[in-house]
Amino acid sequence: MIFSSILFIFYFLTTLLLIYFITPKKYKNLVLLIFSLLFYFLGEPKNIIFLILSCIINYYLSYFIVKYQKKKILKKTLLILGLSYNIITLIYFKYTNFLLNNLNNIFNLNLKIINILLPIGISFYTFQAISYLIDVYNNKHDKATNLIEFATYLTLFPQLIAGPIVRFVDIKDDLNKNHITKEDFSLGIKRFIIGLAKKVLLANTLGEFILKLTTKTILSSWLKPISYTLQIYFDFSGYSDMAIGIGLMLGFHFKENFNYPFIANSVTNFWRRWHISLSYWFRDYIYIPLGGNRVNKLKWILNILIVWSLTGLWHGASWNFLIWGVYFGIILIIEKLFLKKYLEKTKVLKYIYTILIVIISFLIFSNENLDTLITEFKNMFFLNKIPFTDNVTNFYLKDYFMLLAIGIISSTPILKTITKKYPNKIFNILEIPILLIIFLISIAFLIDASFNPFLYFRF
């Protein structure tokens, strides 16, 4: 089930809110757990078993890690056991066929490809479980009070299948308090509507635009990755907004996952603004344990490349994701070694440089077929003999021009800055009607939708 569906908004959410609010405080977590499992079950009825197993195994391992706090070897063994379980499960479901395919290709083998259905959200909940085990091991926070509290954390449906990657410490208080304020609930509605509009009105429509650019021209080969960059931003940040919004309606405060990434003045800065919870996860659980930057230069470069290869592979079991990760790794190294100081001296160039790097990165990201990727790349940079434009490209550019303009403006803080700088009564009065109209238009788009995938679901 996805948030941008009639089933979710009008039946799942309404039923949950009704039951959640009439349930006494001490049972609220149980209600949330049941609804989170139901949410997962409606989308993946068979794979729910792996989610439940993950809850039980990780909870009891953390329980024993705390219990045998003073027995260092046993404690470490339990942690390794837990990490192994999570990593092996993830590798099995996500990377088995990728590995088999590559072994077949490299060694000319004929290993049989296994029919494995990737459990939705496994990359997210596995990372949450790993962070929880490591944090409990390092005494960074208390363990969950009981299995229900832990399972509620791990399966919490707003962030279960597409993030943000929430750490136990960030919502432990919310899990205990179960306190919802009018202000939070109202803010939650706002965030939900904005997220829904980002997804339905912008991301989906941009996706349609890309599908319509069917002819090969230089202009269309630029428009496609530009639109895809905007699409994936609105798709994913829209989902995060909806997750944060639903969280607020239920009394949870998730951290922000995006902060206007396209106004970044360097790639380093971009990754502090894009999928923040993932960047910080890799920083805290891979990069720093590897030694971070407190090692010699060669080891430091290697650390960065390891982290970014893993970041790439986390997004999918395909070579283009690995290339995508390494691409960012290399650029970050170049930036940190010497480019950053030159970029800082420029006024506009640093923004153009960053957005170009990002657009090309999403060209790599969106093309699992490497031949297509090379062709698209050549098309962009005049290396193939194709016309600059044609009537199909011109027509759809004109047809979707307003959408592109709205998309570009909405991806920057321009509107936010204007409303903050020039607060006025009219905007204050109109805010609610505008939000409700946006909500109804989003519903209209859902009703007539032929294109409503979530790009980040496959991760």
């Binding site: 569906s5 908004i9 109202s186 509605i189 002819t215 004109k398 609610i432 238009i441 209209a444 007539d448």
Partner: protein
């Protein structure tokens, strides 16, 4: 106060629609979209079940038509889009944009040459490619099929290519549908017969009307559009001929009037999607016989050819393969007419070879 207003309004909307959707009686057909609505899906332990349930809810959502209009309004007026679902309205006529599929055009060419190889050398073979109505739309901001490529493709083929582009005009097509209006086909029939070496005769027709015909584009445009009157013509030749349908043995008339109130009223002509029809006319003006390979455009045209032939075999080349129809017909001296629309030429992979 502001928070309270937003919370109450939001809750009223989500609970209001949720309850109304449950209470409202469920329709089986959408009149505006001209299609069957989904039934409540039986529970299955599959990943797709929630999608099926969502599709059902989407189909029965309260004020569905108003929401569809809201989307169209937003697309045209806020996003300033030129098209909605690839459709454009110009002077009440709805046009669909179509990109050229060159592979499909080549495939259609191969289909014609292959089919011609099954025929008898005595068959006189003609080809009529009916342009989509967007051919007549003189608008810069519009994407249409490469008509010149299609017609030039058949220039060198040994076939009687009857180019009807200058005979038809956009008014000859229904406003909300792809097809030609039967009552507007007089010039077309005259020109066609002339090119088939048949003498045209001015035969009076009786006109029968069916109001508020909603064509195939109507369901996707979502803004108020003018409806057509569907007209079907009869005369003694059409009334008295014998008609045999391969799939519908109960029907023996040129028109199936039961279809007028169906989802697609255009199916009144020759029962809609019929793969093989045999029409015998003992009172014909000539002794000639005709075999027509056609798509849905042929449905409204064929009845007007009945007076001129003693026998017409109508083959829908989308639904019947050569190995079947070759067992049903002996090709000898008949006239053979390929009567297809450029829409089919551009999507020809559905053809049965």
């Amino acid at each position: 106060m502001k928070d309270k207003i937003l919370i109450i309004s939001f809750l009223i909307i989500i609970y209001g629609f949720a309850i109304t959707l449950i209470i409202l009686p469920k329709k089986t057909i959408s009149n505006t979209e001209n299609r069957y609505l989904k039934e409540f899906p039986e529970f299955k332990l599959t990943n797709d079940y929630s999608n099926s349930l969502d599709t059902y809810l989407l189909d029965h959502f309260p004020l569905r038509d108003n929401f569809l209009s809201l989307k169209a309004y937003y697309s045209y007026n806020i996003l300033r889009k030129i098209e909605n679902n690839n459709l454009v309205i110009n002077k009440a006529q709805i046009y669909k944009m179509e990109n050229t599929n060159y592979k499909s055009i080549d495939n259609y060419y191969d289909y014609i040459t292959k089919t011609m190889s099954y025929l008898n050398p005595n068959n006189k073979v003609s080809l009529v490619l009916i342009p989509d109505k967007n051919y007549y739309l003189d608008k810069k901001d519009f994407i249409k099929i490469d008509y010149d490529y299609i017609y030039s493709k058949f220039d060198n083929l040994d076939i009687n290519l009857i180019d009807v582009r200058n005979i038809l005009k956009s008014d000859d097509y229904y406003l909300t549908d792809t097809h030609l209006k039967q009552e507007s086909l007089e010039d077309f029939i005259k020109y066609l017969l002339k090119n088939l070496d048949i003498t045209y005769k001015d035969i009076p027709y009786t006109y029968h009307y069916y109001e508020n015909f909603k064509g195939v584009y109507y369901k996707d445009i979502h803004i108020k559009s003018k409806l057509d009157t569907l007209t079907y013509l009869t005369n003694p030749y059409i009334d008295n001929c014998k008609v045999k349908y391969l799939e519908n043995s109960k029907l023996d008339k040129v028109y199936n009037l039961d279809k007028l109130d169906s989802r697609d009223s255009y199916e009144v002509y020759l029962d809609g999607a019929s793969s093989f029809i045999e029409i015998t006319n003992s009172n014909s003006l000539n002794d000639k016989e005709l075999v027509i390979f056609r798509d849905s455009f042929g449905s409204s045209i064929t009845p007007l050819l009945i007076p001129y032939y003693s026998k017409i075999i109508v083959i829908d080349n989308r639904y019947i393969a050569s190995k079947i129809y070759l067992n049903l017909i002996d090709f000898n001296k008949q006239d053979v007419l390929f009567l297809n629309s450029t829409l089919l030429v551009n999507q020809s992979f559905t053809l049965k070879k």
